[in-house]
């Protein structure tokens, strides 16, 4: 990154980061680089992940490096760093929001693709975790432990519960409406389209339109906004 760019980012750090993170920037400027968070962090214990260094990078204007890094995807979201931080910096929120920025810039799709079906279930059924179980190990053990077929409907029935938890049709329609108007449905479609597409087009953060333009708006991808 050129000196000029670095300076620009530094000057604009807060507006830019705020935009990226929907206001969840968690007061990074208060960080005193003590490293307590790293000492407590389970991700740092097993990888090169280092929250203190990431904060340092962000504050020094190297947002691009953070967005591109694989480490961004190592955080477990356990909040131990927040619990240990003397300055009450809630770093996992920043990580969560930076991951969106990373996705918008064309990185990280490999980390989210397996989650897409959960979002599809949420859209179709109003619930993210559904009954069907793919893991044969789980079914076999549940079968042995419950004295049923091991299928959830049967287990619930044996317990005297309705076979299924239901979500009302009205609720489903409302959730789908919210998903459609807020851009979530589009985002899902876009991710599905991209899921197997490789190689990704990686763009410099400054050039990603959504990052610059979406503050205060319900987001969509740039081309979709144009078409709208």
């Amino acid at each position: 990154m050129s000196k000029v760019e670095t300076k620009r980012l530094r000057r604009e750090l807060y507006p830019e980061l705020r935009e990226l993170t929907f206001g969840f920037v968690s007061d990074l400027e208060k960080c005193m680089q003590c490293g307590k968070c790293v000492g407590a962090c389970p991700a740092a214990a097993v990888t090169a992940y280092n929250s203190r260094r990431m904060i340092h990078d962000i504050k020094s204007g190297n947002l691009q490096d953070v967005i591109e890094s694989e480490e961004l995807w190592s955080c477990f979201f356990c909040s131990t760093c927040y619990a240990s931080c003397p300055k009450d910096i809630n770093f996992p929120f920043t990580v969560a929001m930076l991951r969106y920025a990373s996705l918008y810039a064309g990185y990280g799709a490999e980390y989210v693709k397996k989650i897409i079906p959960y979002a599809q279930d949420y859209y179709a059924r109003g619930l993210t975790v559904l009954q069907p179980e793919k893991n044969p190990l789980v079914i076999a053990r549940r079968k042995a432990n419950s004295g049923t077929s091991g299928e959830m409907g049967d287990i619930r029935e044996k317990m005297g519960m309705p076979r299924e938890r239901t979500v009302s049709d009205e609720a489903l329609a409302e959730v789908q409406f919210i998903s459609d108007v807020s851009g979530m449905t589009k985002l899902m479609k876009r991710m599905l389209d991209r899921r197997d597409a490789a190689p990704k087009t990686r763009e410099r953060l400054e050039n990603v339109d959504t990052v610059k333009t979406r503050e205060g708006k319900f987001a969509g991808f740039p081309e979709e906004q144009e078409n709208a």
Binding site: A119, L127, V129, L130, L137, G147, M161, F218
Partner: protein
């Protein structure tokens, strides 16, 4: 030690809105059945609604649904207890985090709250933020005396470890019911149920999963955490682990099977949700408690309980007293009997 100032803020209501959890409903239904039965026995109402959907936290924090989409979804869910005039009890650290954080965010960002309500008004709803969002372990300590009255099968001599999970105590280090690093609320409840809380060195260690072990993280990152935790549990010689979150339940329950399957470790410690523990001590039928939905077998643990019941019965008989057995129905405030016994437990 529960914090007095937080305890003072927790409302004790006649009825709460029970915020159902996807994982509880579809993977560990015993969490739901035991919660309902425990509350019924202590005479506190729980209202549910089929209009409530998933909190959408999972898909948000795994980056597939943007906050701009899930914030209105949070507001929509909370508009249900808002309208009913009830405070909300969540069974899950994740639901709690998501509803609380986004609720606060909306209330402190009026322009965004306005936009969200604009969207909700199109489906005839409004979010006011009046319903207080509470965690199960905010509410249970406040009802401790009523719980104690209903304990008919004290879990004497049974050793319980706790796993509080990260997203409640760590994430809400200032507003949670207890200190993030040295909590005792669950231990207190274990004692109320007659059990023995056991400390172990890795008690506050994360299970290694966060939200995403199954999907984002490679097993070789997360299983070592889990192994360290279970090795330390083994040394402490515990009969069961008590959790306050369905996600912790899932990871700890299934993780053991995974470690066995991968030949990493041989642990078999049943994992119970807090209301399952209380339900057991109130004499609830283990079938209804839903321990069969667990992947890690609870058989050894339940056998131990049965031996305990038998020795208690023998001792009672020797004294010539009439045992206050789990079968004796607990009475509900309306005077009807709600006990459906511990037949299976004693069979």
């Amino acid at each position: 030690m529960p914090r007095p100032e937080v305890m003072a803020r927790i409302p004790v209501d006649d009825e709460y809105f029970l915020f159902r959890s996807c994982v509880a409903s579809n993977k560990y239904p015993g969490m739901e059945s035991s919660t309902k039965e425990v509350f019924e026995r202590i005479g506190v109402g729980l209202r549910e609604s089929d209009d409530q959907t998933c909190c959408a936290g999972f898909i948000t924090f795994t980056s597939v649904a943007e906050v701009t989409a899930t914030m209105p979804a949070v507001a929509r869910n909370l508009s249900i207890p808002d309208q009913a005039g009830l405070n909300t009890v969540t069974m899950c650290n994740g639901c709690y985090t998501f509803l609380t954080e986004f609720g606060h965010f909306l209330q402190h960002n009026p322009p965004i709250m306005g936009k969200v309500n604009e969207m909700l008004s199109m489906v005839g709803r409004e979010y006011t933020g009046e319903s207080q969002v509470l965690h199960m372990i905010d509410v249970l300590p406040k009802l401790q005396d009523r719980i104690a009255e209903q304990i008919v099968r004290p879990l004497k001599g049974i050793r319980f470890a706790t796993h509080y999970g990260c997203h409640y105590l760590y994430g809400f280090k200032k507003d949670a019911i207890d200190d993030p690093f040295t909590p005792t609320v669950v231990e207190d409840l274990i004692e109320v149920a007659g059990g023995t809380p056991v400390d172990y060195p890795e008690a506050r260690t994360c299970c290694g999963s966060g939200l995403t072990q199954v999907v984002i993280h490679k097993e070789d990152l997360s299983l070592p955490h889990m192994k360290a935790k279970f090795d330390s549990l083994k040394e402490a010689d515990v009969d069961a682990i008590v959790v306050v979150c369905p996600y912790c339940l899932t990871i700890l329950d299934r993780g053991q099977a995974k470690m066995v399957d991968r030949g990493i470790a041989q642990h078999e410690v049943p994992v119970l949700y807090i209301t399952q523990l209380l339900g057991l001590a109130m004499g609830m039928d283990p079938v209804k408690l839903g321990l069969g939905a667990n992947v890690t077998s609870a058989k050894k643990f339940l056998d131990k309980l049965e031996r305990l019941d038998r020795s208690r019965a023998t001792a009672q008989a020797a004294r010539g007293g009439v045992p206050r057995s789990p079968q004796s129905p607990a009475s509900s405030p309306s005077g009807e009997t709600t006990g459906d016994g511990g037949e299976a437990a004693n069979a």
